[in-house]
Amino acid sequence: MNKLTAKEKAQWKKVLKSFTAFKDALVELGNNWPQIRKEVAEAEKNKKPDDFYAGIS
């Protein structure tokens, strides 16, 4: 078995930390999703013709 060096250990710990942060952000987004959908649907419903973007991006 290849033992990890201190530097490699630190790199893997960093990945675990950012992997967990991504998962947490995903869960948080999931919790807020019903409200997001509701607000977006409401805004879409109330859109006037001029609100439809027709520019060059």
Partner: protein
């Protein structure tokens, strides 16, 4: 033209004609290049900054502790109009410490009398993704968000109510994860594949979430799938840190 274009959007259709064709190939055709500056000035004077842009910059500064924000502008417009728009809003960009690190736009084509005849389309909707620097986060509008997300670009729709801090946060977390994965000095092919898989699954999840957001659909299943994947993968990393199991 705008009326026709908007009518298609209102009816949920994909507009047949592109605004760039109307504006640069039809409206400006045969106008002398010298007059173009007046046209641009008029457009720029009537164009406001997207207020969500300020929300993004504030978030990056406060939550991500970014002192300086590098901004790369990629547009189907010409560099000239982008520069004019930047100059008009220079105080705003300075206030937020935003530094333009590059502009890629299209180029006007003129005849021997300097009359506009066409536009060189270096950047198109189809090839836009090829110009986006690796690991960057793309701020886009509703017109292009879906297609960029489908091409695995870390894109955020900042148009009106579509902009969400939660999604910006998720994009930034994905960005950090990719950087940390790329920084690993893996010991063998198994570790390499394992890391590539984490990256692949996260990119895919990000893409699916953004597509669902464009369609305003549910994401519960997407999240539960990822949680299972996370539990298994994080367990392997913890084991590796304890006893080198990978």
């Amino acid at each position: 033209m705008i009326k026709e274009y908007r009518a298609d959007l209102i009816n949920g259709k994909v507009p047949e004609k592109k605004p760039i064709d109307y504006f640069y190939k039809k409206s400006l055709k045969d106008i002398n290049i010298k007059s173009l500056h007046n046209v641009y000035d008029k457009i720029v004077s009537e164009t406001e900054l997207n207020p969500n842009l300020e929300k993004v910059f504030d978030y990056l500064k406060k939550e991500q502790k970014m002192d300086k924000i590098p901004l790369f502008v990629l547009s189907l417009n010409t560099n000239t109009i982008i520069e004019k728009f930047y100059q008009k809003n220079i105080d705003f960009f300075k206030k937020h410490n935003v530094e333009i690190v590059g502009i890629i736009g299209n180029q006007i084509k003129t005849d021997e009398n300097n009359n506009i005849i066409d536009i060189y389309e270096h950047v198109t909707d189809e090839n836009k993704k090829d110009y986006i620097p690796a690991q960057s986060i793309m701020l886009a509008d509703s017109r292009e968000t879906r297609s960029l997300a489908e091409k695995n670009i870390n894109v955020i729709n900042i148009q009106e109510e579509k902009f969400r801090y939660d999604i910006l946060n998720l994009s930034l977390k994905a960005h950090e994860l990719y950087i940390d994965i790329n920084g690993i000095e893996y010991k063998n092919e198994k570790q390499q594949k394992f890391l590539e898989n984490i990256k692949f699954e996260s990119i895919k999840k990000l893409k699916d979430i953004k597509t669902k957001h464009e369609d305003n659909q549910d994401i519960d299943l997407l999240i539960s799938q990822y949680l299972t994947f996370y539990e298994e993968s994080s367990r392997l990393i913890i084991e590796l840190l304890k006893k080198t199991s990978l």
